[in-house]
Symmetry: C2
Subunit: 474 residues, 2 copies
């Protein structure tokens, strides 16, 4: 199979490395039925939500313990064969694709909640536990884990991509919410980073180095997370706006006033239509902010009143409240299904997602110019955003059989990223670099910083076996 033209561009030196028969037989004798070479299994582990088409890994090891992961890495290291960690496969950036061949290490069976320390507001889980799994486990303690990227992603994957999502405006991202890790190194050694203490100045912050390293510095085998008391009161609201600008100006002011809003999402009118069609909802088909307030009943009311006032100033109207858990769940499910609603609005299409994030004062400039460009291109799109953070996503809906559509979509993305970087923002707020943003990272961080990343990678993984070909070319 030939790599598509854009892959050749992104990965000039990609070669599928050989996977020796000795390694395959060692894996099979160590792992038995936990190691699969069935094509369907390999293909399932060789695709994600990204647009790339790459040969699948040579085998999939279903790890059930840290020891399994360590042994798989050690065997692969003997033959300098790539290993690619796999959680639930919800990556949007090609993180789990075997671009240089190798072995997929599937940690989804490592799905135990190891300990809940309700008094300390911490939980320790295996990497295959999903965010909903964490929340189900801690709910009875009156606690919750706020990071919510939409998909029911694995905690290991969320850690590896520094995920965030709808609650980050108040609760931070995985960067702020991972306290400690267990990691298998490129040598197959098991190390621990961090402790359950809330803060520490004890040496280099290896925890934060691993968070967002996209599987290139270690395989995450255990994660200790911060939890939060379930708010006494929660209230969600939608508010419609005549223009995207009015919605964005409202958000900017809410953030600048320091209102501790828990969620603050933008959905453009077109996407509201797709969501209505997909989820059989009757949302007003205008640009919409979808918000949530957490706190004591008095504080929630105070926040809501402040936001309502600000919204009115900018022409916001039709404030609608969802105070029961059922109404709220319906609303947030609709928001989370925006991606699928959009995909289904155009059968056979694929979405090319953007992920820029800019300082809040630059949000209107960045967003409005990009909307104009997208409208002018004629490519259909959806637009949603964690706008409280300055982060938003276009999803350009392209027919994968029409190269010109992909070219135009990539061009739109390129323009958007250039704009975001010129506004002191980042090319990726939460999806990660993966395969898709390696050039953007170089522009954003500069060659000095990217060379420092490369130096760290080479030092910790001299044979480049940990998820090679991602983040930067070596």
């Amino acid at each position: 199979m030939n790599a598509p033209a854009h892959l050749v561009h992104l990965m000039p030196d990609v070669l599928q490395r050989p996977v020796p028969a000795e390694l395959m037989s060692s894996l099979q004798s160590r792992f038995g039925a936990q190691c699969s070479t069935a094509l369907a299994v390999r293909e399932q582990h060789g695709r994600d939500e990204s647009v790339y088409d790459v040969p699948p890994p040579a085998a999939v090891v279903f790890a059930q313990s840290t020891q399994d992961v360590a042994d798989a890495v050690k065997l692969a290291a003997l033959y300098k064969v790539p290993v690619i960690p796999f959680g639930v496969g919800s990556s949007l950036e090609g993180h789990l694709l075997a671009v240089q061949g190798g072995i997929s290490i599937d940690v989804s069976r490592m799905n135990q909640v190891l300990s809940i320390n309700a008094e300390d507001l911490t939980v320790t889980v295996q990497p295959g536990v999903t965010r909903m799994g964490v929340n189900n486990a801690v709910k009875s303690e009156g606690l919750f884990f706020p990071i919510d990227p939409g998909a029911d992603a694995s905690i290991g994957g969320m850690t590896a991509t520094r995920a965030s999502g709808t609650n980050a405006v108040r609760y931070g991202t995985m960067r702020e919410n991972v306290l400690a890790l267990e990691v298998v190194t490129a040598q197959g050694e098991v190390i621990r980073t961090g402790t359950r203490a809330r803060k520490s100045s004890a040496g280099y912050d290896l925890t934060r180095l691993m968070v967002g390293s996209e599987g290139t510095l270690g395989v995450i085998t255990e994660v200790t997370l911060k939890l939060y008391p379930l708010p006494e009161a929660i209230s969600a609201a939608t508010c419609s706006f005549p223009t995207i600008e009015a919605a964005v100006r409202t958000v900017i002011q809410v953030i600048q006033l320091g209102v501790p809003i828990a969620r603050c999402e933008l959905i453009d009118a077109n996407t509201v239509r797709m969501v209505n069609a997909h989820s059989k909802l009757g949302l007003r088909e205008e640009h919409m902010l979808l918000m949530e307030f957490h706190g004591s009943p008095a504080s929630v009311q105070e926040q809501a009143e402040t936001v309502q006032e600000i919204a009115s100033e900018f022409g916001g109207n039709a404030f609608q409240w969802a105070t029961t858990p059922e109404e709220r769940t319906r609303l947030w499910t609709a928001r989370h299904n925006a991606y699928f609603a959009a995909i289904q609005s155009k059968p056979g299409c694929r979405a090319i997602s953007t992920d820029t994030c800019v300082p809040i004062s630059r949000l209107a400039d960045c967003l409005l110019d990009s909307v104009a460009e997208a409208d002018a291109s004629g490519i259909p799109y959806f637009l949603v955003g964690h706008v409280g953070d300055g982060n938003f996503h276009f999803g350009y809906l392209i027919d994968p059989a029409i190269p010109e559509q992909r070219r135009v979509a990539e061009e739109l993305n390129h323009q958007l990223v250039s704009r975001a970087l010129s506004l002191e923002g980042t090319c990726t707020g939460e999806h990660g670099v993966g395969l898709h943003k390696m050039d953007f990272l170089l522009t954003e961080a500069g060659s000095g910083a990217v060379n420092m990343m490369r130096t760290i990678k080479r030092a910790l993984d001299p044979d480049n076996i940990l998820n090679p070909g991602k983040i930067f070319a070596l």
Copy 2:
């Protein structure tokens, strides 16, 4: 000069590296009057608040720009001579001592606030700006920078040690509040990490790798910080308790309930006495919690009522409020002066400070046993703590001329750290490792993690010129 016995123990392979005359003359021709070899200047840069007695650096370069720092590092790198960044010299752990000789790079003249982005709640400063300097610059915008380690430390030093202090329970530490950095590498190259976007998944988190690296991975030349809107209402209160346990149990419950308390400090009765004597205050001489609440007037009142109820359950009494700025300033100045009050209570003494931090549920166990040990030892001490974080400091007051006192104090510290680690805590919540906690770090993090730190250090600074001999032995 011979190193004292405990230094020999901590730094088995320390040698003062030679500083060639060629380097000295290059520095003098490049920097002129900005480079000093006067003994008084060198000695001032060769001492900090730690107990170590080490020869001073060979010269001090007063950098006035990033280019100055880069040039000084490049010159030192030519001769493989150590460079040691210096802010205001408030380190407690020997960070700035020239244990392997070399050149001190004083950045205190790099004290410009470069840009205030009030709309985005960010500020960019040079590293020699102090935390009070930041606050003075942003106050008129209605903003503040919450990280407050007590001393008016430099932002560069606070970044390098991952500092925190009294407000961390609500606002986080330097880990959470540094958005972006400019750093001079060991090769004298200038790189940038991070952007002004609130979140990013763009590659390795070099910002967090530099935060807390204690000058061993780069010299920080610019820092972009998060700011916060000045709270609409602020209220401070003291509450007295019959026992330390009662105070600590109150704190544990406040945190577990998720009360967003902004400051929550413990001062033991003995330290209150020292503070009264030093600051001419009439605080009730019992164990005391010193608290602060931030928010809307209604929220502040709600928080205060909740805390008062909890405190009453545990026998807390004599709640006293300080609502005017003057009263609050007086109270917090007294808290911040606890260290100096203690030192002055015993003329000629030095303080050996501990810095453990444990999960909040373990705080009572950790603290009470350590109080009993300290009482039994006969060594006078002060005890203060950012107890909302599980972090507290004993300061053992020793006569530096009596080796036995130092031995006993070090033994108390050792017992305390061992206890904290067994309770899943850390040996240092906010002071850093420096010279004093290298053995503790090894116990806490394990040789695997410390070896990973060493590998990163060797890769980024192969000649070991950046603040060598700190954090770990190479």
